[in-house]
Amino acid sequence: MIGLVSYIVFFLILSLIFGVAVLGLNLQWGFTGLFNAGVAGFTAIGAYTMAILTGPARDAVFGGFELPFVVGLIGAMVASGTGAVVVGLATLKLRHEYLAVATFGIAVTIQLVCLNWEYLTGGTLGLIGIPNPSKAWADGPLAQNAFYLGVVLVVVGLTFVALERIVKSPWGRMLKAIREDDVAAASLGKSPERVRLEAFVLGCMIMGLSGALYVAFIGYVSPWDFLPIVTFQIWTMLIVGGSANNRGAILGALIVWGVWTMSGFVISRVVPSEIQAQGGAMQAVLIGLILVVTLLIRPRGLIGEELHVSRHARS
């Protein structure tokens, strides 16, 4: 029983951390229609910034400022936002699949920089000993994880509320207008380029926040945490949950991460041990199957976009 509670707390922490990144992607894809295939890269920037700002000093590696957790979170958002401005200025003229290819390439580049710039990132060895704020506040693994879950819930809650307000604001309606028809939006005097960049940067900042939460929880960061599969997972979460709906984004994170992990648990229980070594393939099939079936039944995701009319408009 205690084990189950402890596991659920742990599961919620990881899936909600993913959920933060999904919220960021939702702003970009769901509301603005920006095909960002470089999610892993922006979470990596946030993650390493957290590690550098809050981690202990190391020989021959930059950083180790031992700053407080909150400074790490803010720093992570600033760093990934700055990265996004640079990337966005260079790539946002591209549309759809071209933007996807460009951002994918950038994510791979960022991962390779993490792998090779030893002075900054510790290279392949990664950075160890990143403090988890809950250790100072609670005793025992369950209490510490429960505390950290509280922190994650606060971050998710704030992000969620802020995004809900943003997308319902005039600026949020502009995002949708640009997503649907940017020529029409431009003809009304809006600047699609600028708004796209703003949405892209804001979304990437939220992804950086997610990366920062992850490393502070795990206590370690290495380039292997940001392989392209992470981007794929976060996209799946958004599509399954329902894009252009922030509730859907969080639900998608919980469901997809649940399928991902529970399938492994089920296989370890059901499949006889002699053939468990082949179970990995079965797990991949199971994950794929569940996702495909979900999308066949609910093509717009579990909770799709809600139709909105401005509250100022008359019916």
Binding site: G3, T261, G264, G280
Partner: protein, 420 residues
Amino acid sequence: MLQKFRLAAVAALLIGIGSSAHAVDCPVKLGAILPVSGPMGQVGERIAETGLFAVEQFNEAGGVLGCPVEYVLRDTQGQSAVGVDAAKSLVDLDGVQALIGAVSSGVSLPVLTSVAVPSKVVQVSCCSSSESFTALAEEGKTEGYWFRTYATNRSQSAIGAKLTVDSGFENTAVIYVNTDFGVGLAKRFEQDIARLGGSITSMVAYNESQQSYRAEVTKALEGNPDSLYLVAFPVDGATITREWLGLGGTDNLIVNNSLRSDDYFQAVGSKFLQNLQGYDSAQPRLPSVDSFNEMFEARFDSPPNGPGLHSVYDAVTVVLLAMEASGDITGDNIRDNIRLVTSPDGIEVYPGPEGIARAKVLLAEGKTIRYVGATGALSFDRNGDVQAPKMTWKLDGDENVETGYLSTAEVAELIKMLDE
């Protein structure tokens, strides 16, 4: 009344579940977190099967404290978040007190810091080579729960440096693969060679799977090195060696054990490699190793060639022996008893059902034992690392011939000298 009864029932259930994680309930579960799919899938699958083989052999000898051992395998998919979740699920939902795995350091380390240490569960890896584990252990952050049966890079760089200096080379260029394995090894080599009186002309890292390494080789040629220390894997290693020799580099090569492979010799051409020397962390001259090899062949119809097979067998067996030595199977007891069953002055026991049965009898009599397994006699240092005996080799025509042998004790002495 009914409510009170319910409350009592729930309380009883809670207590029951709470204690079942520790007391000896059958079956005893052993968790394994290995990459059986994803990029490491091919390697991981064989490692996972060998782990199961070790469990089967233990069960043939009667299991742990009279209980059969259940091997619960979870796939990491080579992803840290998946591996961490799998480990947490094994600990919390299956109640395992020991974890075997993972393979890559990038997965093992997050599992260690976020699951094993906080939950006080022992983690034994067959294959993770990163030096970060040693660093973490030295800071006291593993709290002794971390062990690995894979001999660390430490001895490899030491023997490589010794071989270089003993061959009379004074200016050595280093080319190494840019992974945690290669970087750790090359850095240590740099320190060791300075300690032994040699010197380095350049340290050049390369990224895997490129078409050509001309730029890296050209950089390494600067400063007229009289020898090259190469840490690479066969395909890229062959490309580098061909370009190195083609651009006029010396044929005095010292190579890491990962290049002791016919693929490499053939791809470069043995006749160009007659001044090549290497070392290998390998086959200790012990009957226990042969007997493991024979048992493995009998079970799988193929010899145990491949990374991690010997070491995962020993990882599993050592953990199970430590459980056997514990009255109460808890992470703390396993951690402490791993030392007890690998004690240097204990009575030697060997792999296989008979050896394990004998070990169990000895443990029941309260004796300390020394498990001498598929990788030889394991002796974990205070950081949970092990050393392995080393041999040096060269090519004579197409033949791979041995030129020297250092026992575990000699290797330990060399490292001690270098670290002082």
